[in-house]
């Protein structure tokens, strides 16, 4: 026998699917923006910028779906927490998309025959891989309502933050070559974008824990002093 | 189908129409005879037969007494059945016996009172008006009880609940909510019982007998309209027979008036 409110729960599942698939789009964008950066591919960078429309479109779709569900179905309890979380999640998706665009926009600016620093490049590459895996893990954690997986994201994020600080330090010590210094500043910006992507995945992790436990706790990360857990 | 039912209705109405016609044809002229309503029957075979005043008043007096006895008791029993007894075995037994009583031939009540009160000369008299009233009351009682119970059951239980929930004791719920709400229905039922009582002859035969002169002494014999019809209609003298017709018309008219009253009250309350 069909459960009562079958339509509603179907709609909710579909909406969640739409929001989480946005994370797949983010991964795509992330991959391409980092590729365009390493190969100085301006055309690819341009595609990343243009494709952000898809992510923005996805945001609007999910947002509209949430409004509709709230107005018509009056979700409560667990359903309500999912809907509220999805609002956050889709926001994070949109922001992560914007970070990818920011990275892509830096590609033409960072010049053609530029001097490069191996350490910084390695660090950026590692950050990129980490960010990618974090986005993927965030999707898995939310979809699976997996609290352990969500909490693990915090651990991974400390690594990204560490790399970010390292790049900054390295850029400061890079030397007197003007071109090199300029390039390093751009790399700082890229690192910051990647670090922000990491923070957004932590937000998604917090939302996952909220959906499961009904408690909202901000995960302390290495970049901010530890906060006391708060319950609404 | 429709035609058949229509025809059946006409057939059923024919006797009624004939009765009314005969009553009017034979009795109406008596109404305009001088002294018909204002003088008592003389009781003599020859000469002026007199009027029917004592019969009319006697009927009214006896039925009034029967009403005073049967209505309060009847409504009381109905209240017991609906408010307190409900479905208990005792209440159901009472209901059963009340149903039986509605089917008892009216002459049985007369005979019962005859044996218990008349032959024993209870109260120092043989036939007496009050004994006839008691017999009539016994006859009217089951009618009052049944109609009252129906009306009382129609009072929604939500009203009783509302009154109880306000902290009213049961007796107040009955007297301040249930009775006022069902009042018009109770009145209608009572009027119908009275109309029935007015027309009953058999109970009066062995209990009140008759008298010619006007009397209000309840402990003595009294004249009544049904009895008058009963005796006069078989008289060989046509003039006396006509008195019977006039009395019959009067009786039917009085019963009709009571019925109309009952209908008026019923329609007023539902409006």
């Amino acid at each position: 026998m069909q459960e009562t409110r079958h339509q509603f729960h179907e709609s909710l599942r579909a909406l969640e699917g739409q929001a989480l698939d946005g994370l797949d789009l983010v991964i795509q964008q992330l991959d391409r923006s980092l590729e365009s950066l390493s190969y100085q591919d301006v055309e690819l960078a341009g595609m990343v910028v243009a494709d952000d429309d898809r992510i923005d479109g996805r945001y609007l779709e999910v947002h509209q779906g949430i409004l509709s569900l709230l107005a018509r179905q009056a979700p409560v309890a667990g359903d309500l927490r999912i809907v509220a979380a999805l609002l956050h999640v889709i926001r994070c998706v949109e922001r992560m998309g914007d970070q990818c665009v920011n990275i892509a926009k830096l590609v033409p600016l960072s010049g053609y025959e530029t001097p490069k620093d191996k350490d910084i490049l390695d660090a950026i590459e590692r950050m990129g891989r980490l960010a990618r895996s974090q986005v993927s893990q965030a999707k898995q954690a939310f979809a699976g309502r997996n609290v352990e997986l969500a909490q693990d994201l915090v651990r991974q994020d400390t690594e990204i933050n560490r790399l970010n600080r390292e790049i900054f330090r390295r850029a400061v010590e890079i030397g007197d070559n003007l071109d090199l210094r300029e390039w390093a500043m751009f790399m700082i910006l890229v690192a910051r974008c990647l670090e922000r992507v990491g923070d957004n995945t932590v937000d998604i992790a917090e939302q996952t824990v909220f959906v499961v436990t009904g408690l909202f706790r901000e995960f302390a990360d290495a970049s901010t002093p530890p906060e006391t857990a708060r319950t609404p | 189908m429709r035609g058949t039912l229509f025809a059946a209705t006409i057939v059923a109405l024919i006797p009624l129409v004939l009765v009314i016609y005969y009553l009017l044809h034979k009795g109406l002229s008596l109404w305009f005879t001088s002294g018909f309503f204002t003088t008592d029957p003389t009781g003599s075979f020859f000469g002026n037969p007199g009027g029917i005043r004592s019969a009319i008043l006697g009927s009214l007096v006896i039925v009034a007494l029967a009403t005073v006895i049967s209505i309060p008791i009847g409504i009381g029993v109905a209240l017991y059945l609906t408010e307190y007894g409900k479905q208990s075995w005792f209440a159901n037994t009472v209901r059963y016996f009340v149903d039986v009583m509605t089917g008892v031939p009216s002459i049985m009540f007369g005979l019962f009172i005859y044996i218990v009160l008349v032959t024993s000369r209870f109260g120092g008299s043989g036939y007496a008006a009050w004994k006839g009233a008691v017999a009539l009351a016994l006859l009217m009682l089951p009618i009052v009880i049944r109609s009252a119970e129906v009306v009382l059951l129609l009072v929604p239980s939500s009203l009783r609940e509302a009154a109880l929930a306000l902290g009213a004791p049961r007796w107040r719920v009955v007297f301040q909510v249930v009775l006022p709400t069902s009042l018009s229905g109770l009145l209608t039922g009572s009027l119908l019982a009275i109309a029935r009582g007015m027309g009953e002859t058999a109970p009066l035969l062995f209990t009140v007998a008759t008298a010619f002169g006007l009397t209000f002494n309840l402990n003595s014999q009294m004249n009544t309209m049904p009895f008058l019809i009963f005796t006069d209609i078989t008289s060989p003298r046509a003039a006396i027979q006509n008195i019977a017709w006039g009395t019959a018309l009067t009786l039917v008219t009085i019963v009709l008036i009571f019925n109309l009253f009952a209908r008026l009250i019923a329609s007023r309350s539902s409006a």
Binding site: E3, A77, G78, G214 | E161, A163, L164, Q176
Partner: protein
Amino acid sequence: MNTPDTTSKEQADVSAGGTPAPQSPQATGASKPAVTGKAGHAVNLKDLNAYYGAEHAIKDVTIDFPANEVTALIGPSGSGKSTVVRCINRMHEEIPGARATGSVRLDELDVYAPDVDVTAVRRLIGMVFQKPNPFPTMSIFDNVAAGLRLTGTKSKDLKDLVHRSLQSVGLWDEVKDRLGSPGIGLSGGQQQRLCIARTVAIEPEVILMDEPASALDPISTLKIEELIDELKERYTIVIVTHNMQQAARVANSTVFMLEGEVIEHDETTKIFTNPSDERTERYVTGKFG
């Protein structure tokens, strides 16, 4: 089973059964008259069991209803919520074959104690029913005064009491020119408010409401809900409702019942955002019931 966090209110408001503590008048709004408030009164059920003949309708129910708060009872049909409420003012025993065991306390008063007069209990614990039931033979005025007349209570100023009662339910302006007209001539929503005025007029301490708005149109329902919100300042209110959204809008705390047992009892927000029991979650999200 969770109990709501209302310790401060309960401790402040325990008083001997029925006697109003002196208190400054509580105004409920500029247009409403100041009515002398009573100290809050709490109701406590402990191990309440009720039977209809052999059928065991409610099982070991223990609930605390905090003073001056609205507590809602929700649950599917047949879960026993109406039975619980009818045990509080002892209307349950009006049904032939029905009985109840356990303890129901109004402050310090044990409602089921053998020496307690049931009509006195019902004067302290008023009830509003699902279908509005004004007395059809009485005018609007008489309906409001009915509570007093039916209990043989003399009132010093009946007109004033009727006026205040009708005002407190927001009905005064609508009927002040036709107090003598029959109570049943009003619309459904007005009739229900009239019934509430009738209950309020006897100045109870607790008001029980058994699905008070389920027979009304949506606008009347919202008006009743607003009224409940105002009334809780002076009375402790228990409301049975099958409309979960209504419970969500109106109640401070909510009790979820299933098959005669209390499953969960907590702050309304918690019940509707993060219930502790799986069955509560499934019921409020509509997965069954």
